[in-house]
Symmetry: C2
């Protein structure tokens, strides 16, 4: 018991120091200018290229440990780096460096009758906590995105990638220092004590402004339940595609197959296909056939199975399941109204698509479905900050506060008002 | 004990029902269109005018109870209504009705190289919880603002104003129903059991999206500490005015006196005056004199007292005190850099003003001070949604997430992305 208490106290002290150092570093990061931050990012990328051998050696230790612990092959693949992946990490940081600087940009401006000129301008959020699992590239991506937006960041990686993350982190710190920015602007939690996560979720005495979890459902659920500070995250991406009777059939086949099958593991993959009952005789069969040809298992509602006896019947849980695999549930609905009702009941409010040529159907879907991203005649797999033209994203948020949808550099900022007067007093 | 348990269970059940009804009502409120919401607000104002006598009678009960309980005269004045104040409440709702409808407005739009057209459009937040104290007009203001932005609202007023709030709330519900909107879009918590507040702070099972406290420091502190959902609030308004050596003296005198003395109890009132040490011989004396003539007590730093022996010395606590009264603390600082350092240490990050003719001083102040509202050559008392041209505000937020500064109709919205394609699939 004594030992445990001492260990906990030590983690608490470490995390307290990290929080204070991050808050202090956030000031120069916010005020020394975008050119300095850009220079730091470019220097980070160079440092990663120069340290490629060191990073590979560190990664080899993580991979060896993972194999010994019987980690699955897919997980080992996520963890493993090679020269190409390291160059990809460096190139990614270069790309973030060249994004427009959000800090200080004027979001809105207007004049008042009394002559006051009001501007709303972007400011950094402050300190961002990132809690992630095994992918070591998150260390670089998340660190670079937060710094681009003028924020300090506290990174807490998974123990599986600890050596890789430390090697990459050293390069990020080197880049900061090369540009004359404080190394504490990107800190990697040094302890693998799980209590460190609890400290971060509690907000480090006001020294963390927002938490971003990057990882599986269990991690995100814990962060959302326990965090005492705002969280940018989505728990799941249970995305729907609705095919209206007015939809172009060839387009619908291509978009539905892409939405489901391009990559089945991403959060923007479609999980449920809703087909207008008026299209049961025209669209439903060809869509099921196209999905089957693409290698997708189809599970149908009772009405679908009645029409296509070779389709497996869906059970109640199917409508709430994010398969993350080549499986799709298919239901017939009463037009766009039925689709909206189904989506409201089962959606995770991440991304939904409507395939239709009837403009009133599209507008109703766009008005009434309350999800972060709505698409017309396009694949749900476009739910991605890069595809939105935001450059890079730290994740996708389904919360309605502050950030919703892709969380890119702009979403990692706050704002303030600047009001210019000429001696105005308030009557 | 049995009775108490039963009472608690009952409050939990009541609040659970209120949360579910609010969430259900938020759908038609969001989707039936801005014209419907505007009609409801106009009908609410009419209902309040028509029920003026009923409201006055209800208010008389609250005022009588307050006098019996030895409530202070200032508090009784806040509670008391008369015909003019009721007309003011109705006029305020009419003004909110006529604000531009934020729902569906396009915040940003851009096209992608693949032809996708992306729009970010405003949507309601959902359900807003408002917890307030004795001012019965908050019932009407907060209810109307939330509905204007397409949100359902759960109002929890203080027990002091319970009869007044119920009478006003009945008019709001009448207005909703007149326009064909569900009466549950504005609910007033019927019980004065304090456990109801705890239920709201816990978020009513996901049925409250954001909480707005309206009241004194103790209420706001409790809400900020205990809420498990986002909060729009400021704990205090410890606002600073910095007078640079380059400031126009006459302007500085007028603005400083207005910032402090126009209304000493509002959150935008100045509490600390920082004067450039290079202006100690030119500006400091006249500013102290002007404040004294306006009836303000001045408490000075050691350097100030050295120069002006009749100024009372400030103690350490003065720099952290929101007086809410005709008292100001005054310090000499080392130019704008010293002012920024003082503000960073003591400010509540609400509102600060810089009085200067030197543009580099102004830009540095605007860049480096991290508060919600920064003013140049204007009074801190302009920190107000109405003065910003937002029409009305539900409060001022000092948090950095989502809403910062005045919280008006726009800040009570979220957004979603609408993406229009022509069959795009993701490669």
């Amino acid at each position: 018991m004594l030992d445990e208490t001492a260990a906990n106290a030590s983690t608490a002290e470490i995390m307290d120091g990290i929080g204070k150092a991050a808050r202090a570093a956030s000031r120069p990061l916010a005020t020394l200018g975008g050119e300095r931050r850009r220079a730091a990012l470019l220097a980070m990328a160079e440092a990663i290229r120069a340290a490629s051998d060191t990073i590979l050696k560190a990664n080899a230790r993580d991979v060896a440990a993972a194999r010994e612990s019987d980690m699955g092959a897919a997980m080992v693949d996520r963890l493993a780096l090679d020269a190409d992946r390291i160059e990809g990490i460096a190139t990614g940081i270069d790309a973030i460096a060249d994004l427009p600087d959000p800090v200080g940009s004027v979001i809105a401006s207007w004049d008042r009758p009394n002559g006051l000129k009001i501007e709303r301008v972007r400011t950094p959020l402050g300190v961002i906590g990132v809690i992630y699992e095994s992918r070591p590239n998150v260390t670089a991506d998340a660190g670079a995105l937060c710094v681009k937006a003028g924020n300090a960041v506290i990174l807490r990686g998974g123990s599986d990638s600890v050596h890789s993350s430390r090697a990459i982190h050293a390069c990020l710190v080197e880049g900061l220092k090369t540009a004359g920015l404080p190394g504490e602007a990107i800190q990697l939690v040094p302890t693998t004590d799980r209590a460190a996560v609890g400290e971060m979720l509690a907000g480090l005495d006001g020294n963390i402004d927002v938490i971003v979890p990057r990882g599986g459902r269990n991690l995100v659920a814990r962060v959302r339940n326990d965090a005492r500070v705002p969280v940018f995250a989505h728990l799941e991406g249970l995305c729907h595609v609705y095919v209206d009777a007015s939809a172009d059939l060839d387009m619908a086949k291509a978009v539905v197959v892409n939405a489901k099958m391009r990559r089945t593991s991403v959060c923007g993959a479609a999980e449920t296909l809703l087909v207008d009952h008026r299209a049961a005789g025209t669209h439903l069969g060809p869509l099921i056939e196209a999905l089957g040809e693409a290698g997708c298992e189809v599970r149908g509602s009772a009405a679908v199975v009645d029409l296509f006896a070779d389709v497996a019947p869906a059970v109640a849980a199917d409508w709430s399941t994010e398969y993350g695999d080549a499986i799709i549930s298919v239901a017939l609905v009463e037009g766009v109204e039925g689709a909206i009702a189904h989506i409201e009941r089962y959606s995770s409010h991440h991304t939904e698509a409507v395939l239709a040529e009837d403009a009133t159907v599209v507008e109703r879907f766009f008005d009434e479905v309350d999800s972060a991203i709505l698409l017309h005649n396009a694949s749900t797999q476009f739910a991605d900050g890069g595809e939105f033209g935001m450059g890079a994203e730290i994740g996708i948020a389904t919360g309605k506060m502050h950030a919703r949808g892709p969380v890119g550099v702009e979403q990692l900022t706050s704002f303030k008002y600047r009001v210019r007067g000429s001696g105005q007093t308030r009557p």
